[in-house]
C-alpha cells in the first residue's frame, strides 16, 4: 500500500459503516465499489478495528481494487474511526 497523504485523495463516494462488525464493512464496501466506474475511489468509514487488516487482505485477494491508503481519526465522541481509501481498477 502506498503511503499517500489522505487529504489529497479525490474521493468519489463515501461509505459509512460505523457500528457494523466484521464481515459487514467488507461486504458493504464490495457492493459499493462494484457500483462505481473503473478508476473511481471509495472512502470507507468504519469503527471496526479488525477492518484494517481485513481491507489489506481483501485488496490483495480481489483482482479489481487497490487499497490507496488507510488512516485513523478520532470522532467528536472520542471513538476511533478507521478510514480506508479503495480504488476500483477493473
Amino acid at each position: 500500500m502506498a503511503s499517500i497523504e489522505t487529504a489529497t485523495i479525490q474521493v468519489d463516494q463515501e461509505l459509512d459503516v460505523r457500528g457494523l462488525n466484521c464481515p459487514m464493512p467488507l461486504v458493504k464496501a464490495r457492493q459499493a465499489i462494484l457500483k462505481l466506474d473503473v478508476g473511481r475511489i471509495l472512502k470507507v468509514i468504519s469503527t471496526d478495528r479488525g477492518s484494517v487488516k481485513d481491507f489489506q487482505g481483501w485488496a490483495k485477494a480481489a483482482n479489481n481494487v487497490t487499497l490507496l491508503a488507510q488512516s485513523e481519526e478520532t470522532d467528536s465522541g472520542g471513538k476511533t474511526l478507521y478510514l480506508h481509501y479503495v480504488q476500483r481498477t477493473k
Binding site: 464481515p23 467488507l26 487488516k53 485477494a61
Partner: protein, 405 residues
Amino acid sequence: MESVLLTVDAVADLQATGHGEIFVQELFAALQHPSNLLLLDVRNDEEFRLWRIEGRYTPETLHLPYFFFLEDEDNAVAQVKERIQDRRPVVVVCAKGGASGYVAERLRAHGVRAINLAGGMVEWGDFYDVRAVAQQPDYRIYQVDRVARGCVSWVFISRGEAAVVDPLRFGERYLKLLKQQGAQLKLLLDTHAHADHISSGPELAQMTGAAYHLHPYDAIHPFDMLPARMQYEMLHDGQRFTLGALQIEVIHTPGHTLGQVNFLVTTPDGEAFCCTGDNLFIESFGRPDLGGQGERWAPVVYDTIFGVMKRRVPARAWILPGHYASPAEANPDGLYMKRLEDLWRENRSLHFTDKERFVEFVLSHLPYMPPQYMEIKRVNIGLSNPSLDEADELELGKNICALSG
C-alpha cells in the same frame, strides 16, 4: 469412541434443531479426543500466524480468509469441499464469530456440514477449563486452565476455606467456582510477578478482602527498577499457612524471577502438591531471561532445580506447574500434573549434572521475548493500568515462558 460431538451425525442433529453454531466449551471438549472435523480458519494471514486453535488432538486446519468467500464463493467453497471429500463436518472460526457465521452459512447453502464457532477466537482466548484434581472429604483441588494461552492456576479448598495460586486475569471465574463449592476465599498466592499474563490477585483481594501475597523481590520491576504500587503481603522462605486441613509451605525458588516461590501443599492423607509456577514445567522449565539478566540468573535456576527442589520437595509430590507449551503435556484426565520423581526421569531438559553445561544449554535455547512482557509486569505490580481492550492485546497468543526446543 467416547466423543459423539462433531461427528457427521452430531452435526446433522445440530442442523436439524436449527443450531448452526457451537460454543467454545463444546469445541474444547471435542478436541480432547480424535475427531474427524476440519477446522476452517477465515481470519486474515497476520491473525492466523499469531495464534490458532490447538487442542489435545488438534484437528486438520484449513486457512482461507473470509474475503475469498466474498470475492469468488464457488472457488472458495470448492477448496473446502476438496478437503472434506468424506463429508466431514467443518467448524468455521474467525476473530469474533461474525465472518465465520457468514462463511458457515454460505457453506451450508452448498451442502457442506458447516458450523460456526460462536464468539470466535475472542471467546476461545477467554475460555477457562475447570477440572478437579482431587476430591477428598477433607480437601478439594481444582485446575483452572486458560487453554488458549497455556496458563494454569490452582484452587485449593478445605473446610470452607480457599486459596488460589496464580489467579489468571478473570477473577470472577474463581469466585463463581468458590460460590459453587461453598468456600470462602482466604489466600491469594502468586508464585511470582508474571510477565506473560495479568494476575487477578490484587483485584480479587480488593473485591473479597482476602490477602494478596507476593515475594518482595518481585515487587520491584526488573527493567524500570521501580517499586510496586499495590497492596500485597510479603512472602518469605519457610513461611507457613494453614488452610482448613491443608498445610502450605513457601519455598523460595529464584531463577525465572528473583522473587519466585513455590507452594508446597501437604494434605491430611499424606499427599503433597507443589505449585511450581514458572520453575518446573511438565516439559522444560522457566526461562531466566525475562528480567533482562539471563546470564546472571541461569546459574540461579540450576541451584533452584537441582538444589532447592531436590532437598525440599518430596519425590512423591505432585508438581502443578503454571504453564504448558502443548496440550500433549496433560495426563489422560486433562490435568497438567506429574510426580516429581517421574519428572526427573521424563522431563529431558532436567538431564544435567554439570552447572556450566546447563547454563550453556539454557542460554542457547532462549526463545524470543515478546515486547509486551515488560508492560505486563508493570501491570502486575500496579505501575500501569490498562483498559480492557489493551489488556486483551497484551495477553494475545500463547505464553512463551519455557525454553525453546
